[in-house]
């Protein structure tokens, strides 16, 4: 199994499918502590990514796929998730460089760069009840797995599972960034929508890697 351009392409397509299926769920989460559009935003954004990938034809590198994804999300999402995921994939693209495929170390570098991009853009810290609360444990788990000699699929699996746990951990938190912060204490008791979309996207990376295996 190789994390090559075909994998990256399939990652984006499976993300699009998962976000489309979960559109209603994400929007419902965002209705509780936001403006009820996160599902629509993500579905529109990743739908446009798939269209762009179709139009562009088979990409040469994972980095090229991430770049297309970044530009499209920045333009099409419309909400906070647009510049956040857009910056994540732009930094991921830079980290991936021209490599035809990502080995364990490159994969960790890509995930780390994505998370750092979100932090640079949104200035959120762990515990602020944002997508960072899914990304940070995911990156930590990936780093640990890679250090223990894991293969790419295992690293991705560890990251996705940690993101899922991070998502669950957002429930009791009081939001300190993003729209939900307007609610103050009343934001507690709800999952963060952006953490939920992050968990779906990282799970899609696992599924794409399993298919490629």
């Amino acid at each position: 199994m190789e994390l090559n351009a075909a994998w990256a392409d399939q990652w984006m397509r499976l993300s699009a499918a998962a976000l489309s299926e979960n559109r209603q769920r994400l929007t419902t989460l965002d209705r509780e502590i936001g403006d009820a559009d996160h599902g629509e935003n993500m579905d529109r954004g990743f739908g446009a990514v798939v269209e762009k990938l179709d139009a562009d034809g088979v990409p040469e590198t994972p980095g090229a796929v991430f770049k297309t994804t970044a530009m499209t999300l920045m333009s099409k999402v419309g909400g906070a998730a647009g510049p956040l995921y857009g910056t994540a994939f732009l930094r991921a693209s830079t980290a991936a460089g021209a490599a035809p495929a990502l080995g364990p170390a490159e994969l960790v570098a890509v995930l780390t760069a994505a998370r750092d991009g979100i932090v640079a853009r949104g200035k959120a810290e762990p515990g602020d009840k944002t997508m960072i609360d899914a990304w940070t444990p995911a990156v930590d788990a990936a780093v640990t797995a890679e250090a223990a000699g894991a293969a790419p699929l295992e690293i991705l699996t560890a990251a996705a599972n940690a993101a899922e746990a991070g998502l669950a951990g957002t429930e009791p938190l009081v939001a300190r960034k993003g729209r939900a912060s307007y609610l103050g204490e009343r934001s507690a008791g709800h999952l963060d929508p952006g953490a939920a979309s992050t968990a779906l996207i990282l799970q899609a990376a696992v599924s794409a890697a399993e298919e490629a295996a």
């Binding site: 920045m74 333009s75 999402v77 419309g78 906070a80 647009g82 510049p83 949104g122 993003g178």
Partner: protein, 128 residues
């Protein structure tokens, strides 16, 4: 030519209304509305912001004013895509949208530079 302004908002109407209000006191200032998503839904558009910067920067620079935090993030992303030559003269103002835009427009109308226009926005109170 004066410093230009781009009004970045989640709502097309809101951005246009702010431009209309600010233009009253700044007939000669180029002020662009960048409101709503590409298809005029509620949200922000990177393209509209980039187009607004291109339309308003005559070489004197442009100041961006934003409504909510996600508009700030989209605008900051737009800045990263600018030519390095243009980047230093395009600024984000950390100011309330309506009040900051009116104050910035008056400052631009009276010939202030991009740093002064930004400062005028940032020191704008909620009302006069």
């Amino acid at each position: 030519m004066s410093v230009g302004l781009v009004v970045v908002s989640h709502s097309r109407k809101l951005a246009e209304g702010v431009c209309e209000l600010a233009a009253q006191m700044a007939a000669d200032v180029s002020i662009a509305a960048a409101g709503g998503t590409d298809d005029d839904g509620i949200g922000t558009s990177l393209e509209k912001i980039m187009a607004g910067i291109a339309a308003t920067d005559s070489g004197e620079g442009t100041v961006l004013l934003t409504d909510l935090g996600s508009a700030v993030m989209t605008a900051e992303s737009a800045l990263e895509f600018l030519d390095p030559e243009q980047q230093p003269r395009v600024r984000m103002a950390d100011a309330p949208l309506v009040e900051g835009t009116v104050a910035a427009a008056v400052a631009a109308q009276t010939g202030r530079n991009v740093a002064e226009v930004t400062a005028a926005a940032e020191s704008a109170g909620a009302s006069y």
